[in-house]
Symmetry: C2
Subunit: 258 residues, 2 copies
């Protein structure tokens, strides 16, 4: 995807290609996270007394990262959204003048708090190697979590490009559905059950291929570092539905921006 | 590896297991980096005018990361070393009391500047997807670079555990070699050509297995995201030799700590 060339960003073939590539980043991230314990201390608000800070150890790390990354203009990119918009700092670099591709309210559609919630409650317990804390690894856990959260957030909010491409392809249909607030029909129009099924099958393949040391493949117990079925289930239960929510939310407001 | 149990850290089977696992992290990191251009602007000193800062854009990012990570005690861990020791901040967390496993001068053996140099000069041009800058991705490049550098640094400095384990296993031999400053014999004693060969073969397998979308494996052109031979060559030419240098440097000073 080249955000400097708007026509490439709304080409569904390019979008699908980018989404497939993001799966690799997410699978790699989950495999890295699986080295560590579930580490509830990382997620418990104010478990550690960090001066002038209110939140979990993960929140603190995410905020430091977002402050730094905002200074190198991460959140100017149309495919990046912060978890803590209030902490961002001015960029140290000259701005990139991205051509307008998405609607002007796009940054207001931000489901990162929902991502944080299902990540901590559902993903961490299923991918971590063991329940409980291992105090000397809390920092490593936080680093892995931030990588996973940023990759998942990018994947889910990329739905906006899908939504905009669909809108551009049939404005008449969508204008009517939007005026009628016909959410079920909007949802149906952006759902492709066959593509979703392909994603889940491919994720299981990726989980197996990336999660097993290939030199151990023919050993007696070539266990994958993360159960491939868990990765597919996370997509099915959280990532795909939240992507659709982003698409619907984006489309419902689309007439604000005509 | 459980640094709280010193006996496990000097068990060569555990050390080898940890080193093999680190290969995955390094291969994942290189695959992630391969999405982006070589991006010379990231490495050119003072290419961007960052207030009160002298260095490259990568140096700036690394320093921000190391400041933050020092606050969560990353560099208290015996297997982590900063690239910029002078920027570290006090930890916000209670200290972890690691049992002493390595010699007391261990943090002085730090080859991170050499790692930075070969990474920028040799790795980046070979793994990036294209030569040149793509200005809107400089931040993403920096993020990938930091991940790769930290993973490579951890891998190389892990040689200290190998060196200490070998020292413990035959103090008499090493004491003599150290007094004689017999570097060639120390080097020979820590070299296992068969193991090195196995590493290179395994890296090629990992490059293929982790770098190809498995659903494309039987397509006409199942190209790996990073040439597996390049990954093996990076190990052969840089990572393995620098690990040995760390081991030799560590052993040569070992009598300071008796």
């Amino acid at each position: 995807m080249d955000f400097m060339k708007p026509e490439t960003c709304l080409d569904l073939v390019n979008i699908r290609h980018a989404l497939i590539r993001m799966e690799d980043t997410i699978v790699f991230g989950l495999i890295e996270r699986s080295q560590f314990f579930s580490s509830p201390s990382v997620y418990e608000p104010n478990k550690f007394h960090i001066p002038e800070f209110d939140g979990s150890f993960l929140d603190w790390g995410l905020q430091q990262m977002e402050k730094t990354h905002s200074q190198i203009r991460r959140y100017e990119a149309p495919d990046e959204l912060p978890f803590f918009p209030s902490v961002l700092l001015p960029s140290l670099l000259p701005p990139v003048h991205y051509p307008k591709v998405l609607a002007s309210y796009t940054d207001e559609i931000n489901v990162n708090q929902e991502i944080l919630e299902f990540y901590v409650k559902e993903i961490v317990p299923q991918v971590s190697c063991k329940a409980g804390d291992q105090l000397e690894n809390l920092g490593s856990v936080q680093v892995c979590d931030i990588d996973c959260l940023q990759a998942i957030s990018r994947r889910i909010h990329f739905g906006k490009f899908v939504a905009e491409a669909k809108y551009q392809a049939d404005k008449e249909l969508y204008n009517k559905l939007i005026i009628d607030k016909d959410i079920p029909k909007i949802e149906a129009s952006i759902t492709n059950a066959a593509v979703e099924e392909t994603i889940l099958v491919r994720l299981i393949e990726k989980g197996k291929s990336y999660g097993v040391d290939p030199s151990m493949k023919y050993s007696q117990n070539p266990q994958s570092k993360v159960e491939p079925e868990i990765i597919a289930k996370l997509y099915k239960d959280y990532i795909i539905p939240l992507t659709k929510k982003v698409e619907v939310d984006y489309l419902l407001r689309r007439l604000e921006d005509v």
